[in-house]
Subunit: 519 residues, 2 copies
């Protein structure tokens, strides 16, 4: 757990902590707080390597170009002096323009949800963790794997709210396909904004959805439009259609949010060997070109709008073509992405990804590798941090719990080690001497409650005691914990007038037919 820094942060943490009391009867978790990096980032590239990748990214933008499948985007870029190739979708932009636009973006920004105690900072040497998003399936040990639905969707939101280690909602943790697609975003956002008080995300899936999302976030926060636009209140994440293409719905949503001053993460999905070159240097160059192209567009439209450099480069299994995550290559790709993001002074997004089918050893090592890649590269915005499995095809309820344990551990790990005289313990060592034991020493007794990180999911009993108690495996303990958390969940407070306004909006938009489903 990161120590609260400063009076304002401390008061916020205290308020946020008290909201999470319902979990205290189930687990003893770390307090609300972001990870603060203390180590140097791991940097596999030397300065020349970074410049080589930068140069190729610039040459991609200058000589090959990026397809912008949105006429407004092309019009903006033409106005900015970029060249539209043969009147078609391809836009070429020179490096001076790109770098001038990128320089407009802030190095760090905050996003403030309806509960200001849940504000997160994106950048400034910190990481924020988001829940799993967009899984078509959901699974748990008892009921197996099933298609996403609103009941499980709500269960995952309750876990998002319960765990202090999860700082923001990403998309829908699982797709609630039992809600008709035309009105799904209305019910889903309503659930997100009432069952959690953490930062919300809007999918860039067409005009109506993104406009409705902004309106609902505004209402939930009890904000006027002026207040909503005055600072980041929500965000969207767009993916390029790699290679070298930005599609209409993503561009449209991104431009709408940017026009209202809301943050946009641009995350190319560049699997090396499939949608990007098989070499990491080439894949990162392409990722960089695709990300900066959209960032330049957004900075032209709204100078200074918060954006994030998104990194999702991984590799495929070259025997089968299956995507792989949490591989050695994935770790390196994340570290390289961090170097590129820092070169452009942009906050950056990574993911806690794995390609396993069961919350077992493989799922865990891929997760540990992904978290290592993201944090050793000092990512600021770590999506899918809890619950993601099968390369994103399933949200696992047990994995959600396991991941939160790991997020807490990584956060705790990033605390400075003290070598103050009392920590060097010379007097305690002399006092205990060669025949004693430190458990009883005053130096130990004064510190034992807080000296070490205390996990909620580890079982450190000896084998006999563990077996006697039922030989519960880690995923079985995780199963028990999520059920208890959901049973003990209590919704965060919301002003009754605000809730009614939100409900009325949802009803009105449903009456109007919601959004087109031809996306």
């Amino acid at each position: 757990m990161a120590r609260a820094r400063g009076g304002r942060a401390a008061r916020r943490a205290a308020r946020a902590g008290s909201d999470g009391d319902a979990t205290a009867s189930v687990i003893r978790q770390s307090e609300w707080g972001q990870l603060h990096y203390v180590d140097r980032a791991v940097e596999p590239l030397d300065a020349e390597g970074v410049e080589r990748i930068h140069d190729i990214a610039m040459r991609i933008l200058e000589e090959i170009g990026i397809d912008f499948l949105h006429e407004d985007a092309r019009r903006f870029l033409a106005d900015a002096g970029c060249s539209i190739v043969d009147g078609g979708p391809t836009v070429r932009m020179d490096r001076e323009f790109i770098m001038e636009m990128v320089a407009r973006a802030p190095e760090s920004f905050t996003i403030t949800p309806r509960n200001p105690a849940r504000e997160i900072t994106i950048g400034s040497g910190r990481a924020a963790f988001g829940a799993v998003a967009s899984a078509p399936n959901v699974s748990d040990l008892e009921n197996g794997r099933r298609t996403g639905n609103r009941a499980d969707f709500r269960t995952l939101l309750k876990l998002t709210q319960s765990f202090n280690a999860v700082h923001f909602n990403f998309g829908y943790p699982v797709e609630p396909v039992d809600i008709h697609a035309s009105i799904r975003h209305l019910d889903a956002l309503y659930d997100i904004l009432t069952l959690t008080d953490k930062v919300a995300h809007a999918y860039s899936l067409g005009v109506e959805r993104i406009e409705d999302a902004m309106e609902m976030v505004r209402i939930a926060g009890g904000l006027s439009w002026e207040e909503f636009e005055a600072q980041p209140r929500m965000f969207t994440n767009i993916n390029s259609s790699s290679p070298l293409k930005h599609d209409w719905p993503m561009l449209d949503g991104a431009m709408r949010l940017a026009q209202h001053g809301q943050p946009v993460i641009v995350a190319p999905f560049t699997l090396a060997g499939a949608m990007a070159p098989i070499t990491l240097a080439g894949a990162i160059a392409q990722q960089t070109a695709e990300a900066l192209a959209a960032i330049a567009l957004l900075q032209w439209i709204r100078p200074g709008v918060p954006v994030g450099y998104g990194a999702f480069t991984s590799n495929v299994d070259m025997h089968t073509g299956a995507p792989a995550f949490g591989t050695p290559e994935y770790v390196r790709a994340m570290q390289m992405s961090g170097q590129m993001a820092r070169r452009y002074r942009l906050p950056w997004r990574a993911s806690n990804a794995n390609a396993a089918n069961y919350p077992d050893a493989q799922a865990t090592w891929e997760t540990c590798n992904s978290l290592y890649g993201a944090t050793s590269g000092q990512a600021n915005f770590i999506c899918h941090a809890a619950g993601w499995m099968e390369g994103g095809l399933t949200a696992s309820l047990e994995k959600f719990v396991i991941d939160c344990e790991l997020l807490q551990q990584w956060t705790h790990y990033h605390r400075p080690v003290s070598t103050e005289p009392e920590d060097l313990a010379f007097d305690a060592i002399r006092e205990v001497g060669p025949h004693g034991h430190f458990l009883g020493a005053e130096h130990t007794q004064a510190r034992y409650k807080t000296a070490f990180y205390s996990p909620f999911l580890s079982d450190w009993r000896n084998y006999e005691a563990w077996e006697e108690a039922g030989a519960e495996k880690t995923h079985e303990r995780a199963h028990r914990i999520w059920k208890e958390l959901v049973a003990n969940y209590s919704a965060p407070a919301m002003d009754e007038g605000v809730r009614e306004e939100l409900e009325a909006f949802v009803q009105r938009r449903k009456d109007e037919g919601g959004a087109p489903t031809d996306f």
Copy 2:
């Protein structure tokens, strides 16, 4: 897999690889080779912090002293000018003496087993991985947990030999308690030296055992005594009895091996809050004092003898007193240990430890954390790297396989990333353009066989295919793999005359009664 560097290493790797062919019918593993570090070490302490810990370690040695429970050791140290406190076991030594002795130790050394292709380098920016050692129990999925025995002992040796990721034998992977203690070392060493051709270790458990071990390693290598002593052929590891004490059997074995030029690792077992201060800085200071005390003794006896700074500082669960491994504190303790070892220009030893009872998620995250701590701190000698569980109380056959997969991944991760023009792939990106796919590109086809690390244990099929094939979990796949490896095992070649000499030695020493069992 580290690339073979230079012609001699390449030829060795080729020879060693061909020995491992029996495994090829079961798994496709990485070739024989050590991990070569390429990143900067992660260093939680600043230069002043390192000096503060050093200063406390020196003050422990100067002002408190270390108990040496061996009269020869005290006599050597008295000869060296150290002060024997009140004629008792406590020896105080000043920092000038300590640092002069430590400076005699080599920064790097090799150990050459009977198959010279299996030579390992300890130091020089490399890591070597050893098998689990000294577990009293053994477990597998089919037969559960049981007391150690020779059959399982031999099974674990066959796995040690089969996996290229395992570079050396540590102690007995599991204690073969069905062999009488007086002759156990004879049968156990015979098995180690015939079932594997990798570096062997001798327990420092009394005069006869250590002398017999040297003799057997000498015979197995077909060496004269002069040849045996000319370079490191084996090693021992001693633990202090923390706090501040070195026991007779450990000191006796260490001194005997040192006198014959064989390496000694000195690894204090300093659990913070139990045998060492609860603060990491204090625990590492005590670890350093205990390690350097024995290292100074050995360097006085035999200037330049290879030694290793051993680190085993972890924390205990302060609610129950149970030892914990693979915790955030453990990671920091390993990184700090690496800083201290580099300050003294000593190669250093870490462990791949965990405290889990089952090869599940907890076992895996604790293992990943331990490996991260050891490798981010750039440990040179990583013991218990495959198969250790329950804080060392069980050798798990499935965990052995899982760990070898992780050792391969970490080794592969430590390869430099290239940004040569062909890796930047500009032409491939232009060729594929916005409408293509890289799978068919020539740039991909020329590289797909070797571009990415290829795991032997991961299952990256989609859920439906995985379920259709039996929904085998990772530990179940590991179970199948170790059984197949044992079934396909073939013993490494040994000259018939050498084998007969080894057998005759074992028989003669058994006839003489073996070793006393009053240790």
